[in-house]
């Protein structure tokens, strides 16, 4: 016979963590069963922000789905643009001019930088530190201005096109980007590392907390900084190179501690690597067209196509099934945060509530990308 919840003898209780409001962007609900302050069971509940993006792709033509891609991961929108362009270009056999590939890499890496900067700011806000957010937004604003110059928008970019990019970058963008990298490098040791990374409160809250073992990470299909923080050297940019990434010299930061601090450090190191890629790309930027001649309505040959890219949160895969018509037969997305979140239930068992929140922050969740 099951005992009703109100009569349970073990003194556990259920606490709903979120959602704050259905119209906010980060609407994740976690149903927590708590024993005092310790988590007995955690159950993430998804679906509050499901918008049927995959279904929408089926009744639009290929180009018309482009704006949707940026609405999934609003923090690394350009990588979603890139992933979708890549799979359609593979399907239709479109060659991208070299200059366009370089511009794509530069803008995607800038976008990755601000994604990590915003994660850093929001994560520290979760931990109760407000000041770093202001420094982070100061830096982020610089990149947003730069990207606004070339893309015309500040958050949900729709900049890439099949066979290239919407428009060319100018000299002011190039000098601005060099200046920003110089500025961020000078601020990194103080505003980021001295103020936060070395801070005793942060260390105490992250070290040894939220351990995702390598085995767990593989089992749940974690990718991106979560996997690299668990000692798995896996980065699509290196393992399945796409675009012009093989031409750049950069490292993949890997930490073996498996805790929240390891994931934090992976992202901090990745910011430096992104800056290295941008500098190299700007130095080597070739001349030429930024867009290939592509018919307005694409009709790729029948087939099953796959392309994956590395977003700020991990491996984003697009599977495209075509039946020779002007719209996709099926577009399936493999989003990184969904897999990264799925380990939350197992790992957070027995954790203090406050630690679980720090752990959740270290996963870098972007909910619209989980639900799509």
């Amino acid at each position: 016979m099951t005992v009703p919840i109100e009569c349970r003898q073990d003194e556990t209780f259920v606490l709903n963590l979120g959602p704050q409001h259905p119209a906010t962007h980060g609407v994740l609900r976690v149903k927590l069963t708590l024993d005092g302050e310790y988590i007995v069971e955690a159950e993430p509940v998804l679906g509050y922000i499901h918008r049927m993006h995959e279904k929408m792709a089926e009744d639009r033509n290929f180009a018309q789905f482009m704006p949707n891609t940026a609405r999934m991961d609003y923090l690394h929108a350009l990588a979603f643009n890139h992933g979708y362009c890549l799979v359609v270009e593979r399907a239709a056999g479109i060659e991208v001019p070299e200059r366009a590939e370089y511009i794509r890499v530069i803008t995607v890496e800038l976008n990755r930088l601000i994604s990590h900067i915003l994660w850093w700011a929001a994560f520290l806000l979760d931990l109760g530190g407000f000041t770093p957010l202001l420094y982070a937004f100061d830096d982020r604003e610089q990149v947003l201005d730069l990207l606004e110059r070339v893309t015309g928008s500040r958050l949900t970019y729709c900049y890439f096109r099949f066979g290239g990019v919407y428009n060319d970058i100018d000299d002011e963008f190039i000098t601005g980007t060099y200046a920003f990298i110089k500025r961020l490098r000078s601020r990194m040791p103080t505003q980021y590392h001295a103020l936060v990374t070395g801070n005793i409160i942060l260390q105490k809250r992250l070290k040894g907390i939220g351990i995702i073992t390598e085995e767990q990470s593989r089992r749940y299909g974690c990718t991106g900084p979560v996997a690299r923080g668990s000692g798995i050297n896996y980065d699509i940019r290196k393992n399945e190179p796409y675009s012009v990434y093989p031409e750049f010299d950069f490292d993949v930061p890997v930490y073996h501690e498996c805790d929240s601090m390891a994931r934090y450090m992976v992202r901090m190191d990745e910011m430096e690597q992104s800056m290295r890629i941008i500098e190299q790309a700007l130095d080597k930027l070739p001349d030429g067209p930024v867009k290939a001649k592509v018919p307005k309505i694409l009709k790729p040959a029948e087939g099953d196509y796959w392309a994956s890219v590395e977003t700020a949160r991990g491996n984003l895969g697009h599977r495209l099934v075509c039946d020779g018509k002007k719209n996709p037969y099926k577009l399936k997305l493999r989003s990184p945060t969904f897999c990264n979140l799925s380990c939350f239930a197992e790992v957070s068992e027995g954790m203090l509530l406050a630690d679980a929140l720090a752990f959740m922050g270290s996963l870098d969740l972007v909910i619209p990308e989980i639900d799509r």
């Binding site: 018309q64 482009m66 000041t131 110059r149 015309g152 103080t190 070395g198 005793i200």
Partner: protein, 146 residues
């Protein structure tokens, strides 16, 4: 016990570093935009809602009512109509409505226009409490601009 003293020393060190950085930032110039007093200028490529372009020679919109923007739009937010004035060969635009509530500023309409008849505007002060305020009559807007 030694751990306790390590925490005390480490904590005071973190505090001093934090305070020194804050103090340095305190004397730096203000970085925020003083918005209502200083109005930011939008960049050349800023994507506001679309607007019609006037043909300088005739003083009328460049649009030839082909409907490519309407068909290209992913969200179907453009609706237009035109008719041939008596004695003329070309169609003239009589209605061009943009439903900005569903527009995602992707620029597909501008790309699909072969006559360079539409462009992004620089308007960003568009707050309103009524949905109807976002159905823009772009033809009327062009006439008002003079």
């Amino acid at each position: 016990m030694s751990e306790y003293w390590n925490d005390v020393i480490g904590g005071s060190k973190s505090l001093l570093i934090g305070l020194s950085i804050t103090a340095r930032e305190f004397f730096k110039p203000v970085v925020t935009e003083q918005y209502p007093w200083v109005v930011p200028e939008m960049t050349e490529r800023f994507r506001g809602h679309i607007e019609l372009i006037k043909d300088e020679k005739t003083g009328k919109p460049k649009c030839i009512v082909c409907g490519m923007c309407m068909r290209g739009c992913p969200s179907g937010c453009i609706s237009l109509a035109g008719k041939k004035p008596e004695g003329e060969k070309k169609k003239a635009l009589t209605k061009y409505h943009l439903d900005f509530t569903t527009c995602s500023l992707c620029g597909t309409c501008i790309e699909s226009c072969n006559f360079g008849a539409i462009q992004f505007s620089k308007d960003y002060n568009l707050a309103s409490t009524r949905k109807e305020d976002y159905i823009f009559d772009l033809l009327k807007r062009l006439e008002e601009q003079g």
